[in-house]
């Protein structure tokens, strides 16, 4: 198929994705921590065709992250313990944001804190910073679910009260749409989802990684320098899909589904389960064109079944 045929094709199905204050040209995003700052994959996959990119989690201060090894492959999965390596808020604002502003795609900034104050600072500063650069930040994704740091992060995401508190505080400090990113390492995901909805989140994204580990039987030590890491990739898809399905029934705000999506079929499953948009993470590492393959497959699926808009799929499996 030629490029122009492809684009005519996409035009037949409406892909516009309205997420309670965040409007994207299509429902296919890339997941935080897997797509750098939008430049790394540019030679392989045009960001102009993506619904949005989500940048690596930013913390107030720069972080070196964890020592290596940070990665361990598992059956159909990947363990990572990057430990939130990032340039820190100031450097991000000065040196990364201008470049992100120049990209022809919606930019979502993922933020991570170790205290309530951290989240307040991040939200307030990025709100201002976005205004400076032509409102280039389209939403803040609040990571209350990072498994790879000692304190904070995931702890906020495993207790409904704390989760609500963090989101409410971010809400006070920004006018940007808020995406609350949930950890799957909880007994009841719907409780946390309801809490962040009450806290004022516009959107919920799920799931972050499952806490896992791997042991090197020759050294008899954990493979990851950090001992534990976050499990992502196709292995976790059934868990992610179940949680999206459950949360869809529990809240009234839109969901961004992720966790093991590597094909368009996976993405359709997530939309049928209730995701209004999907994020591609680990699959980028295997196939840099995964987001576009997902997008094109989604369009074909809609066309073949006579859907006029991709949003018609959302929640159909209920």
């Amino acid at each position: 198929m030629t490029k122009s045929e492809q684009s005519t094709k996409q035009n037949k199905v409406c892909l516009e994705t309205k997420l309670n204050g965040l409007t994207l040209r299509n429902p296919v995003l890339t997941a935080s921590g897997t797509y750098g700052f939008g430049e790394e994959y540019a030679p392989y996959c045009s960001v102009a065709q993506l619904g949005a990119i989500t940048v690596k989690g930013i913390t107030p201060l720069p972080r070196l992250g964890n020592p290596v090894p940070r990665l361990a492959e598992t059956p159909a999965g990947l363990l990572n313990a990057v430990g939130l390596e990032n340039p820190g808020l100031e450097d991000f604002r000065k040196n990364y944001l201008p470049k992100l502003a120049a990209l022809d795609t919606a930019v979502i900034v993922n933020i991570s804190g170790f205290s309530l104050e951290d989240y307040a600072l991040l939200a307030g500063t990025l709100d201002e910073a976005s205004a400076e650069y032509g409102n280039c930040i389209k939403a803040l994704e609040v990571n209350i679910s990072c498994p790879n740091i000692q304190d904070g992060g995931m702890a906020f995401g495993t207790d409904p009260q704390s989760a609500e508190q963090v989101i409410a505080l971010v809400r006070k400090n920004t006018k940007l749409p808020i995406i609350a990113k949930l950890t799957p390492n909880v007994t009841d995901i719907t409780e946390i989802a309801k809490a962040v909805e009450s806290g004022g989140a516009n959107i919920i994204s799920l799931i972050n990684t499952l806490l896992g580990m791997s042991i090197d039987i020759s050294t008899q030590r954990p493979v990851l320098a950090n001992k534990f890491g976050g499990l992502s990739g196709p292995a976790i898809k059934p868990v992610a899909l179940r949680m999206v399905y459950q949360v869809f029934e529990a809240v009234n705000i839109p969901l961004i589904g992720m966790g093991g999506i590597s094909t368009w079929q996976d993405a359709v499953e997530f939309m049928l389960a209730g995701a209004s948009a999907v994020s591609i993470g680990t699959a980028n590492f295997v196939n840099p064109l995964a987001p576009l393959d997902v997008l094109h497959g989604l369009v074909d699926y809609c066309e073949q079944r006579g859907y006029k808009a991709s949003r018609e799929l959302v929640g159909l499996a209920h």
């Binding site: 897997t34 070196l64 992250g65 940070r70 990665l71 390596e85 292995a235 590492f285």
Partner: protein
């Protein structure tokens, strides 16, 4: 580049026990590739193994438009790779990463530990040996390994080399760094301050690839002797393009500030002096 390339050859070389394979790939990659760079290869279509595998470019033939890789069977990724047959197509991202600086004159020392020899093959090919004098030090487990991993190729090239084996079955019994140390010490003794001008004529540089411990020792020796050295680092990789921050090493910047660099993007070739080794943090 992100391509499907044709496998021209994928077979076993040397002694079976050493499990070393040569993989020859066809395609435009060859036109861009530089010594020291690597490719990121999808070894199977299934989700297990999931990740691509990074492998150094060991040979570049721009006329035939082929690149050559040597790999050793380690686990299920290389195992899956070894099952791919000639004329199959495999998905490749690359060439990726930084390359070795090509010395234009003087003398270059190459130091390889084990399969660290592979990326040095492409450097050897690229160096203009009419202008640059090459001296190679290579250490391995034993004779069988060295023979399987390309000793006869070195012989064919006709370069000057010294070998070390752990069991003494070929060359010096011991570490490759013993050889380097011996060489540098002898050279220091011989260097007559009166002849110091000669030194300027033959600037000495070095390039090394091998296990971390060996690289650290090489860098220390080179520091002592004030020789600029480039090292090729390895680290577990997911994306291979700088997006996941999985493959970092630590470097010391001016002012002593520690920073991470991505082995896949700012590396795999690093200036030896900037690298901060694990036990130094």
């Amino acid at each position: 580049m992100y391509l499907k390339v044709r496998v021209i050859e994928n077979r076993f070389v040397g002694h079976p026990s050493q499990k070393i394979y040569r993989l020859v790939l066809s395609g435009q990659l060859a036109l861009k590739a530089k010594p020291g760079q690597f490719i990121h290869l999808r070894v199977a279509e299934s989700h297990d193994p999931l990740l691509r595998r990074p492998l150094s470019i060991a040979g570049i033939d721009r006329e035939q438009e082929t690149i050559t890789i040597y790999y050793r069977l380690m686990g299920k990724g290389t195992e899956a790779l070894s099952q791919i047959r000639e004329n199959d197509y495999i998905s490749v991202i690359g060439p990726l990463g930084t390359s070795f600086t090509l010395a234009q004159k003087g003398e270059i020392l190459l130091i390889a530990g084990g399969i660290g020899i592979f990326p040095l093959f492409s450097l050897l090919e690229a160096i203009d040996r009419t202008k640059v004098q090459v001296k190679l030090f290579w250490g391995g487990e034993h004779k069988l390994f060295l023979e399987s991993a390309g000793l006869n190729y070195l012989q064919k090239l006709g370069i000057d080399y010294e070998l070390a084996t752990m069991d003494g079955s070929l060359g010096h019994k011991g570490l490759v760094t013993d050889l380097l140390q011996g060489y540098l010490e002898k050279r220091a003794l011989n260097s007559n301050p009166a002849l110091q001008s000669n030194r300027g004529l033959a600037p000495l540089s070095a390039a090394a690839c091998g296990p971390k411990g060996m690289l650290q020792a090489v860098v220390n020796l080179c520091k002592q002797h004030e020789i600029p050295v480039e090292v090729s680092l390895e680290e577990r990789m997911a994306c291979g393009v700088g997006a996941c921050l999985g493959c970092v090493c630590t470097v010391r910047e001016e002012g002593g500030i520690l920073r991470r660099k991505r082995v896949c993007k700012e590396g795999p070739i690093f200036a030896g002096e900037e690298v901060v080794w694990d036990d130094e943090i």
